[in-house]
Subunit: 175 residues, 2 copies
Amino acid sequence: MARKPASVNRKEEIVSAAVEVFAEVGYYPATTAKVAERAGISQPYIFRFFATKEDLLAEALVVSFRRMVEAFTAVIGQAETETLEPELVGAYIRIMESHRSEILLQMQAQAMVEPRIVGIMQEGFREVRTLIEGAFRQAGIDKPKQRTLIFLARGMLCNISMSLDLPDLMEEEDV
Amino acid sequence: MARKPASVNRKEEIVSAAVEVFAEVGYYPATTAKVAERAGISQPYIFRFFATKEDLLAEALVVSFRRMVEAFTAVIGQAETETLEPELVGAYIRIMESHRSEILLQMQAQAMVEPRIVGIMQEGFREVRTLIEGAFRQAGIDKPKQRTLIFLARGMLCNISMSLDLPDLMEEEDV
DNA sequence: CATTAATAATTGATCAATCAATAATTAATT
DNA sequence: AATTAATTATTGATTGATCAATTATTAATG
């Protein structure tokens, strides 16, 4: 077989492929062979970069939380007090559109029991929560804790609405 | 091996065992052997009642939604308008306490892609949503659609808080 | 030519599902 | 009532497939 030319980003390419495949078929049913195929490399070569499939999942989750935190941080850095919350909502919607697979993967991980994965999810949630609440408080928004809870809760329902293809779930206009 | 005496509830016993085991280790990593052990029967005997492991999952999910709908229906049938919403919240919390595993299983299924499972989840969510919104509307609660969304959203965040052991996530008292 | 990047081939374990056999129960027959 | 026949409930043993992970090789690069 013709060999693939070397790449500096091999590791990132594998993570991106993994996120997609894990989201498409589910982490457990997903095979490392499929991930490799998506990344355009051979299956064993994944294990040059990740000791186990779970390591790969862990890295994918860390990346997805990092992206989210960076997106929110950018908004917080430049939004006016009045528009802060809707802009954070907007940022989340943009992530859901541009990185749907990462959200789908996070959803899977929310129900996993592997201690390592639980730890990463705890850390990710705590970081996001702290960031949002701090921003609300900073902006002088009333009842920041409560507003943060509602913000996160809506996000989680929004995920389900997307994953199960139930747009009605997010309808809120009472006429 | 000494045979187990016949039981009329075999099927329900298997479903209950499956819910527990699926919740404890995850649906995919869970083996039919573990489910059988929990149910106190032999592994192959599961397949007398369920053609596939997925069939068993499907039945478990249907059961879990039925329980939830029944609990909410009972509250709706007897609650005063003023206390309707808090009582529905109370009913949900009681389910989370008494049937934690069913909630954990629903969470897993929220991110699954198997068409059959997606269908069951869609139907379950739609039924719950319709039930709650109808009750809010019936009770003359203002903005029933919006209130339903918030109710469901809180429920979903509450699930995550439970599954990831992050009680802080549901703290809402601003002092 | 030595090092690094990559693949091919293989393995060992796991598990859903099948199949054939047996224990328990019920029904029929004396 | 005892005996037998038929049916149902349940298990033991096995299989065929799948897959993460390892090892041994080969191609590229500087």
